[in-house]
Amino acid sequence: MKSKFINAFKDVLREQILDKNTVHLDGLGQFEVVHKKQTQKKYENGRVAMIPPADVVEFKSEIRKADEDK
């Protein structure tokens, strides 16, 4: 596999993801940016922390391990 292609693949996907575009690859899955709202998290000791919001890359797989399908 050509490194030129790998680099281009990486750059193009990164650009599209950063532009908040959803990238769907048949046979692999879908990449998209998802916004996570800020949330409160309660700990066992009663303490509460506010988790800040975040934009994260989410990957929805289209394939499963072969032996898992059986």
């Binding site: 292609f5 950063l18 769907h24 919001p53 391990k65 898992e68």
Partner: protein, 369 residues
């Protein structure tokens, strides 16, 4: 906007200038490699993009690289979880009135104890969205989470855990651990006591400043006045009465002054020589080698001419300016950005220093060639 495989191939053809069929086969081969590696229980990493692997439940997973994570999450970079204050219990409130002991005036001991306690249960690393810790600009949490306070809160929390698990700890540790609120109030007390000392400290600082300035003045005088000049000055004082001699002295001094200027000139020349522009920075011209970094986007416009016009104005103000076209939701926008920086934190730090409204209305983007 959704990019499907066909569209992605088009973009890859455009990027690589390879044949479409070749790009297609390369893409299929890549997908096959990812799945094959994952099937064999191995992970396949594309450096700078991410890692593909099968999780325990047999699903293909993707972990984005830190670089990508940070870029995607640039808006919230550096934000950390904020602990919400628990309601104060009365026992803690009573203890607030205790005086601060003399042997721990600066609270260092408490902090050291807290540091020795080890990790608390809250895993703060889990919420670390990237490796940017010192960039709190544009941070909606900023008002809530002053770094020092959050440190205190973390430490206090660790101490609470220590108190819970080891009730036979020393009394000092106990009192420090009983309530973070108390610790916080201690801090406040300390700060108020230091504020009472402020006038004394101010006077001391002013005196120190005067001494330093006086010292500096004498050192400069020693360095810049030649012995001849000093001699001339002495002669002037001694021979003040006969005006003719004094005039001679003045004329004698003038060439000296000129000499000094002459001596200084080469130094000025070296400083005023146009130095090579640094790779990164906010001002000057775009440097090619700085295009591997980040820039501060100030405008995102649909009209290229308008974008160029604004870019021109910013350039006239001395900024390194660039206009880049991006496709967002299927539409092309032209982003006007300033500066070239090696990292997002540095970009954010500079962005915060920009004049209003740019200091609040901006975002950081990676420079693309």
């Amino acid at each position: 906007m959704k990019i499907n495989k066909e569209k992605l191939i088009e973009l890859l053809v455009e990027k690589t200038e390879m044949e479409k069929a070749e790009v297609e086969s390369q893409l299929n081969e890549l997908i096959k490699r990812i799945t094959d590696a994952a099937e064999r229980g191995k992970a396949l990493e594309i450096k700078g993009f991410g890692l593909f692997y099968f999780d325990e439940s047999g699903n293909l997973k993707f972990d984005p690289a830190d670089e990508l994570k940070t870029e995607v999450n640039f808006k919230y970079a550096g934000m950390k979880p904020v602990e919400l204050k628990p309601p104060r219990d009365t026992s803690a409130a009573n203890k607030e009135d205790e005086p601060v002991s003399d042997d721990d005036v600066f609270g260092i001991e408490d902090e050291l104890i807290a540091e020795e306690e080890g990790k608390g249960e809250i895993n703060f690393d889990e919420f670390d969205h990237g490796n940017i810790d010192d960039s709190d600009d544009e941070n909606p949490f900023e008002a809530l989470m002053d770094d020092d306070e959050s440190e205190v809160e973390k430490k206090a929390e660790k101490e609470v855990k220590k108190a819970g698990t080891a009730p036979k700890a020393s009394s000092k540790k106990k009192s420090a651990a009983k309530d973070p609120a108390k610790k916080a109030s201690k801090k406040k007390k300390k700060s108020s006591s230091t504020s009472q000392k402020d006038p004394v400290m101010m006077v001391v600082f002013i005196l120190l400043g005067v001494v330093v300035l006086a010292g500096g003045y004498f050192i400069i005088n020693d360095n810049f006045s030649t012995p001849e000049q000093q001699g001339n000055a002495e002669m002037q004082i001694q021979q003040e009465e006969p005006p003719a001699v004094a005039e001679q002295d003045l004329t004698a001094v003038e060439p000296e002054a000129e000499d000094e200027v002459e001596e200084l000139e080469p130094v000025e020349e070296t400083t005023t020589e146009a130095p090579a522009l640094p790779t990164y920075g906010l001002y000057g011209d775009i440097v090619e080698s700085g295009n591997n970094g980040y820039t501060i986007v100030l405008h995102s416009l649909r009209s290229e001419s308008h974008a160029n016009e604004i870019a021109g104005e910013l350039k006239d103000e001395g900024y390194r300016t660039m206009v880049t076209g991006r496709t967002v939701d299927g539409r092309t926008v032209y982003r006007v950005s300033v500066g070239q920086f090696p990292s997002i934190p540095e970009s954010q730090a500079e962005a915060a220093e920009l004049p209003a409204p740019y200091n609040e209305q901006n975002f950081i983007q990676r420079i693309r060639n």
